[in-house]
Symmetry: C2
Subunit: 715 residues, 2 copies
Amino acid sequence: MTYANPDRNETINRLINPKSIAVIGASENFGKVSGRPLKHLIEKGYAGRVMPVNPKYEKIAGLTCYPSVDALPEIADLAIIALPAAQVCDCVRDLGGKGIRAAVIFSSGFGEMGEAGKALEKKLAETAEAARVILLGPNCLGFVNAFENVYATFSQYADGETGAGPIAFVTQSGAFGTAIAALIRQRGLGLGYFLNTGNQADLDFAELMMALVEDPRIKVAAGYLEGLSDGASLIRLARKCRDLGKPLILTKVGRMESGARAAASHTGALAVSDAVFDAVVRQYGVMRARNEEQMLDMMEVFCQPRRASGNGLGIATQSGGAGVMMADRAEEVGLAVPELGVKTQARLGEVMPAFGAAGNPVDVTGQFVARPELLTESVVALLDDPEIDVAIVWLQLMTAHVDALLEIFREIQERTQKPFLVCWVAAPEAAIKGLRAMEISVYPAGERAVEAAAALSRYGMLKPPGDDRVVSVINIAPEGSTGSGMQPSVEASNWLREAGVPMARVELAENEDSAVSLWRANGGPVALKIESPDIPHKTEVDGVILNVNDEDAVRSGFRMLVERTRHHMPEARLAGVLVQEMSGGHVELVVGVQRDPVFGMIVMVGFGGILVEVLKDVTFRRAPFNPNEAKAMLDELRMSAILDGVRGKPAVDREAIAALLSRLSHWASSMEPRLSELDLNPVLVGEDGPSVVDCVMIFEDRLTSMPDAGVDEPA
Amino acid sequence: MTYANPDRNETINRLINPKSIAVIGASENFGKVSGRPLKHLIEKGYAGRVMPVNPKYEKIAGLTCYPSVDALPEIADLAIIALPAAQVCDCVRDLGGKGIRAAVIFSSGFGEMGEAGKALEKKLAETAEAARVILLGPNCLGFVNAFENVYATFSQYADGETGAGPIAFVTQSGAFGTAIAALIRQRGLGLGYFLNTGNQADLDFAELMMALVEDPRIKVAAGYLEGLSDGASLIRLARKCRDLGKPLILTKVGRMESGARAAASHTGALAVSDAVFDAVVRQYGVMRARNEEQMLDMMEVFCQPRRASGNGLGIATQSGGAGVMMADRAEEVGLAVPELGVKTQARLGEVMPAFGAAGNPVDVTGQFVARPELLTESVVALLDDPEIDVAIVWLQLMTAHVDALLEIFREIQERTQKPFLVCWVAAPEAAIKGLRAMEISVYPAGERAVEAAAALSRYGMLKPPGDDRVVSVINIAPEGSTGSGMQPSVEASNWLREAGVPMARVELAENEDSAVSLWRANGGPVALKIESPDIPHKTEVDGVILNVNDEDAVRSGFRMLVERTRHHMPEARLAGVLVQEMSGGHVELVVGVQRDPVFGMIVMVGFGGILVEVLKDVTFRRAPFNPNEAKAMLDELRMSAILDGVRGKPAVDREAIAALLSRLSHWASSMEPRLSELDLNPVLVGEDGPSVVDCVMIFEDRLTSMPDAGVDEPA
């Protein structure tokens, strides 16, 4: 894929908004896959020229039908291919010959159908590239551009009313995507674009969405993903959406082990580790929705025009219990339910003299039916409170009072700037429609309203775009290293130290005498560790002796380590024994760098020992990142409070740990793609800051692609 | 409250199903609170006699209106009181005088309105008791018995269609309860009883529900709670529901800190610790729903007649992605998504020859529109697999194929016994109605269907009722103890040892010589600990010395502990120094007993040290319980894997820990209400089993009620 190709961008734009469409393999039976796009294009009033191609017919529904691509009277902007798989490659070649540059391929029988299908799909991609035709599909439902009435699809979705609106939705799944599109319609949110990528033989999710979000009529971008192969492209999309101020909502299936297993058998796309995916997309400001319901709830809140600038939630409710339930959920999803200011309390006291406790949640009871100002003034006062960034109003039923309530909400809307959401349980249809017509989001359940408010708050509190870019790339390349595989500890340690990572001092002793002089030079107790290019985990060969502090102990330690290693692993090549200063610290961290096949260099941090093994309390970021992002990583750890000091231990310096992580991330980036794995375990953190005690650094055996960060290749 | 009163039970039954109703304070304005019950009773066709009481009218809507309670021509089974708060007590007295034994009180202005209101409510309760009138309310919406068309309510709910059905729903909140009732109607599940308890001045949630579940027309009991004061009564209800095989679904608000704060300001009911509530209700087989949506989803699955007997979930789906999402959620909520047996795979291969991977989830694709047997045979094969206990079928839209699909589901239903649920996203209304008419549960979102299936599975896998009862109460009462407050360590230790709890051996030395001989008698290293009735936490006065193993060390240790204590806490009374055998063990647990004001004796277990402080990895059960229940507690700990051995440590004996917990629970029960608190911290667990190293036992200062377990009172 060559994204930065202006011709390609132009062709994608013409695919999405074509002035003319050829339907190859068109059928006069409008119930068939090959007939349905014609039906929709005609019935929904597509203004461009529609040209069916099929030697069987002379006309279909009054349109001239052409016997072949070659016979077409003009170069269509888009061809829809509804042919058996075996005929698709030839057709694409014909399209290229005719000068038609974009095709939507409905046909199945490609990558989703075993090895033969995969081979056919590869051939299709090559054919398309040679013919200079871009492809949506194969094995896709096609797409809808509801603004221009382009129905290049056979999806059931097109059977219903499909008014255009501010949402662009791109889905890798046809069936699930159609369901989501139908839900968007049910809610009346307005779907401007609906695209199904199918097998992504050419155009993928991110490239397509990149084109859609350029459309000023689009306010919200949403995607349903099952797999991902081009992480960089997704990150470019995320950055662009942030630059444009358009929320990007993503749902990706395959969160758990069993789900990943099912995903692996279902899709050809690479099953990226979900923990990494989750961390990286959040890092770049994507709003992740765990399922379709949450996706819709987020769409709804981002379709209303107001944004929140903090996480203070005000709740006005007709039921105290509902208020409690929403306050519970708010705490779980990162919202605060602040106590109200004195001024706000006084205002609430004026409208509700009978009720003493005018706290937050505000229980307005059902009395606002008789006294509308009770609700109006309460909500306005809430939103005027400086601690409140977004409010939720909870109601139920009220079938007889819909008009009065809509009037109340209109007044609240006029008198306030901050966003407010309505939760209306068992709401009359007229209430829902009325609120949405006013661009007020409405939810059927309290916890869902809270989750939507939390999404609004998270989005509003994202650091401004650009803040996560690399300020200056530290480019310390280990020239003269030993090449691929595990790197010698001393060199690895030196490279990292030069990059600003606080490594415990370590030297290599090739014999006892050398070990003794290194111990003397150290001037205090040392650790002795066996060094071998064949032994990444020294403890497994019993290859570490701690706290050695006299000459005899150094000498016997040296001998003992060599003997133990010969015993445990006779074939291991021995480089000598490492002599390392002893490090202290009451907090044990593990830090690592992995090269993710989708997202590149990923830095991990977590608590060491039993906590990483049993609790898996770790967190990830894509490298590089700045120290603020690194501090956010530390905050995300479930056992984060350990850093603040527990059981009488002092707090440790989070800034120093964050600096370590950020510097490491820059170094790892500059080493891409040469560095394949790096483990700093343990990193001991005491009052003097962190110290990396052990380090395993592994370079790629074979470089799978050219280095792109100015790094010298190994000899 | 005196539950076991047959007269009271009979009166409750007449309240719920009255043959005649007096409406005190009746209004001819059917829009008013005091007019609405009359309207509903007349319009919905209540068959009994309705007698309005109000000196202002001679007739209301054709019914004779009586000037006073005394003037009523017969003793009504039920009186509805719709009077101002100030007149309610007099009215209740009049009802008692007339011989009317049950009243529903709509009036507000009681416990919910500050101190004056609380006093009035107390007076109301006393008046009712003296007058032998049972009360529902005050400050309640009343109730609906939809079977007998009893509409003793002014709730908005009664405005709509209210066909009777298998659900009994009792709510402490009027507004939220009405919303839930309306949702039950929207789904067409059938609400037989709908009661709002209001302030519970007399009848509470559990006592009312106890009467409702006796009705054979009721299949599912559901409650919405905001607070709880009588835990024993709730447990009796839970046991009864299990005996009757009727699921009891509870939603209680106030799960989190901020929610609890809001609850405290909202309700007069005692804010029971949610962690304890959650553990105890699950212990007794209650199905807890976290919010109203989940409550409705559970109601729906329990309204269908089939039950699951294990946790194996089979998924048949039209979208691979939806299958993955459901498999993910299944793993999170305790369901397995097992691989299918060879036989099942062969059957699936027969119907879907084109698709190789016929795993679970089974992706039937959209082709079943043309070939219905694809769906039918797949689902039947899934349900026939011995590993599968419940299935979910995922569909979307299919507006044109509703009848065909209903026919498919009818055939599946005929050919199978196990439960299956349908998830139909963006379903046509006719599909939902058709499935519910066949008693098949249908959900609008995949994850919600999975959660419902998980509830069905959890319910089906509950241990049979009775399994959680005490087999034999160990009644070891510490006769001759020192009375209230903190108990001496040696005595406390002895009582627990006699009860079967493995305590580390400990003796009290009053002087150095005695300490030395106790050390000698121990025959190995000992711990020395200061003993004082004023010092529960010995480490806080630096009052513990470990691993003492020679005479000098014992003597100097004794002196040092006395000096340190005099330094840190000069006023503390010193009993001497404890000499305790040293215990080993690589796992550190904390075990505790608290006397919960609602549920009584609660046993807690968790991991000690940093894990209990930061992660709060603890779990609770109401005492007493058997070792199986104790093992379930260990399984619930998030760090449970530590017990299986990590980082080269051996596994510990879960049975031995479970025995400790169960024995402790029996002892704690036998000590109720005398024991107020007990901390066993740490409990060290090694290869030889657990050993309790430190124990703080506190008795009640003043007994708040008589002991009920045969325990002697302190002198």
